[in-house]
């Protein structure tokens, strides 16, 4: 057995217009947990996809357990003991846990039929051995994200992985579940597994790993021992400059009367199950209300309900005195509610429309762009688009370029530009920084704060607790379709919010309730 589970030497991977990996050296010792740290777009996932056989490198050499391999596909990577837990889970929601795990290595009865029972027994044995509780008979779509992640890890182990690649595993987890994951990783280490942890969170890298390799813009900045480094050092390696960890912001003015009043709103999710249960909240002028919560607790449905995209079963939504419940999305837009959607492709931009056409989406029937029902004004549209491009720094060859041809960050700038230039009374921002690099994130935060200072009421939905704590004036925690608590950021912390996000109540509250009872 080689000292190294994996050695990658001089890896180069080019995509049209970018060098994703530029001469990267990386090694993983047997039985270690190795952090791969870098910003979005630094090349972490590409490097690991190469290791897993999803891409062929343009140059370089890969040694697995001391033997060199080239041009292999995932099937062979699996045989070589490499397992990858992708950031976006590779699970089929409609199938059972067991079916998902055994895929590709299905035990068979009489050589023909699926042997589900054998698979289930094998899965239960892994579950026991590694302390990763899962129910092999359940359907994946019914399970919470944290359990889906355990399924992914067991899937890799089931396929015989002794080297695990975890791609941003904590992005979808609460504080408490992150601790569970860390415990599971230690257990895996005890059992002799080697692990690569891809992350962009400094604290976790230091807390969970033995060594950390930092990537920046496709190259290796350096490899350090986790115990001998600090968050500040890693941050500098990652970004290449001192990072401002807190943003300066003025105190919220928080007007007394709410701009948007939401009372007792019930709504269903796409499967027809209750997703919002009697949700009430106020959005006030000059204030950012952050919504914290584990993904899938009704945040997406809340954003859709507040923008008219999802019908509500009961309750009221009123902007000042204007009742909006039951109205169409267009009524919400004309009432002055802007929406920065979570998914650029699904909601934000028509990718095969030009910037011009995208810039007027939602306002396409309003006066300057359509002086008449049967007449659009190309000049007005072009002028408006140029204004957005200039004011929001959208980098594009021209206003007639297709949205598809912009980078993710520039697409997001276009959306933000479009939504904010409506001069809205209310802004519903749903995960507005997802997939952006540090600079992009800072930019979005600045814009939201600027709008707040100009008097808009902002609702910020984010899975990133740090972002919520940093930007919000008040924080509402969502759990199981309900607002379970509203806190001030300086009167709460990650720990308490995490408890609330996970169970709907904090230990302190429970104690109080116990005492009262």
């Amino acid at each position: 057995m080689s000292e190294f589970a994996v050695e990658m030497r001089g890896i180069v991977k080019r995509f049209p217009g970018v060098v994703a990996n530029n001469d990267i050296d990386f090694d993983l010792k047997q039985g270690e947990i190795h952090g791969l740290l870098g910003e979005n777009g630094a090349g972490k996932t590409v490097l690991m996809s190469i290791l897993y056989g999803l891409y062929f490198p343009d140059e370089g050499q890969i040694l697995i357990d001391g033997t060199a391999y080239s041009h292999y596909r995932p099937a062979q990577a699996i045989r070589l003991g490499i397992g990858m837990v992708h950031q976006h889970f590779m699970l089929v929601p409609r199938l059972t846990v067991a079916e998902n795990i055994m895929l590709g290595q299905e035990p068979a009865k009489s050589g023909l039929f699926l042997d589900r029972e054998t698979a289930i027994r094998k899965i239960e044995a892994f579950s026991e051995q590694y302390g990763l509780p899962i129910d092999p008979r359940a359907r994946v779509e019914q399970l919470p994200v944290s359990e889906q992640q355990r399924i992914e890890i067991i899937k890799a182990l089931y396929r015989g992985a002794n080297t695990l690649i975890l791609d941003e595993p904590t992005a979808v987890l609460t504080e408490q579940n992150v601790e569970h994951l860390a415990a599971a990783m230690r257990k895996l280490k005890e059992e002799g597994e080697s692990t690569i942890l891809i992350t962009h969170k400094l604290r976790e890298a230091i807390g969970m790993c033995d060594r950390i390799t930092v990537l920046r813009k496709g190259t290796v900045v350096g490899t350090v021992n986790a115990q001998e480094t600090s968050e500040r050092e890693l941050a500098e390696m990652m970004v290449g400059r001192d990072v401002v960890f807190t943003i300066r912001r003025s105190q919220a003015k928080g007007a007394p009367s709410p701009t948007l009043r939401v009372r007792d709103v019930d709504a269903k999710d796409d499967r027809g199950l209750p997703a919002l249960k009697k949700v009430s909240l106020d959005l006030r002028k000059h204030e950012i209300l952050g919504i914290a919560g584990v993904q899938g607790n009704g945040q997406a449905e809340l954003a859709e309900a507040l923008t008219g995209l999802r019908p509500i079963q009961s309750g009221t939504i009123a902007l000042h005195d204007r009742r909006l419940a039951g109205k169409t999305a267009r009524d919400f837009i004309t009432a002055g509610i802007a929406h920065i959607p979570a998914d650029r492709h699904l909601r934000g931009l028509v990718m095969d429309f030009s910037l011009r056409e995208n810039a007027i989406l939602g306002q396409h029937r309003s006066k300057p762009f359509s002086p008449h029902r049967f007449w659009q004004s190309p000049q007005a549209i072009t002028g408006f688009t140029r204004d957005i491009i200039e004011a929001f720094g959208v980098r594009t060859p021209s206003a007639a370029t297709l949205a598809r041809n912009l980078s993710g960050g520039n697409q997001q700038r276009l959306i933000i530009g479009r939504e904010l230039s409506k001069d809205p009374a209310v802004i519903i921002a749903s995960q507005p920084t997802r997939g952006l690099d540090v600079g992009g994130i800072e930019y979005v935060h600045e814009q939201l704060l600027k709008m707040r200072d100009r008097g808009a009421a902002v609702l910020l939905i984010s899975m990133d607790l740090d972002e919520i704590l940093m930007v919000s004036d008040r924080i509402a925690v969502m759990y199981d379709g309900q607002i379970v608590a509203i806190k001030k950021p300086d009167e709460t912390g990650r720990r308490e919010l995490g408890e609330l996000m996970l169970s709907g109540s904090s230990p302190r509250l429970q104690e109080q309730e116990n005492q009262e009872a």
Partner: protein
Amino acid sequence: MAIGPMFKRSVVLKEMGITLLSIALAFAIGTIIIWIAGFSVSAVFSNLWKGAFGGKLAIGQTLAKSTPIILTSLSFLIAFRCGLFNIGAEGQMYIGAMAAAVAGAYLRLPIVLHVLVCLTAGGLAGAFWGWIPGYLKAKRGVNEFVSTMMLSYVAIGFTDYLVAPRGPLHDDKYWANQTIRIAPSAVLPRILRPTQVSMALIVALFFVLLVWYYLYRTPAGYELRSVGLSPTVADYGGIRIKRKYILALSLAGLLAGLAGSGEVLGTHLRFIGRFSPGYGWDGIAGGLIARAHPIGAIFAALLMGALRAGGMQVQRSGAAPGDIAAVLQGLVIFFIIAPTLIRTLIRRRRR
């Protein structure tokens, strides 16, 4: 400078280049088929050309055949722009033709007005036949692809019944399945005598411009196109998707209905059972060859019309069965619908 798809020169040139190469490739394969089948390649192509463009009569024939195809192509592409497949233009055309024939034969109106009323009746009847699958799509989630097709068969059967002997609209003077002749005031005049080209061609070209304007210069057309490219984003933009589905298929029906009306008012001067040699299906081909662009529909329809006219000449000459034209049409489509095929071939050559 106004930037509309009509004027994006580099894009248009590239698309046109790909289209022309696809057509060339299709004709090359067609040549091989003719050769394998044992016919004279030169005789087939010379007759094809002669029938389509060889003289005033031939050109008239081509234009006459192209006229309804322009409209059925528009019918296909306006639904396509909304993300829907209207493959029922044939049936919508029959329903429209029947309505125009009835209005033409049984109403008594002054000269210009009568034609307009007949066109309106035909268009609206076709629109109704398109509205049904649109409504079913929006309200019941019925796949418009299957329903437009099925309703096409229903329309053909229904109009057949109306004009069959013992049917309520049958012209008892003749044995053939047809209605009585329309009033002279309802006739769309011929414009290129002695050929069959009528004012219907002008109507069709007028609607090309109208559809272009609608799609690219009105907020309603903008909405229709955004639904076609991304329904979820359109929803986010406050656009009522289901209404657009109903509207798009109704408009598709309207255009197909006008195609049928043009045939009745300009060519046959009565409704004849099963009068169409497949103009509705040609519209699918035309819409695809035009790459769903209204201006392109003119050229695509000309190609289809030329193939039909040329095919007839090939048949008459005995060089080969005239249906070689249908094979060529099928091949052209087949090469045009694979957007990366031609590009791949070009790239191979460069290496």
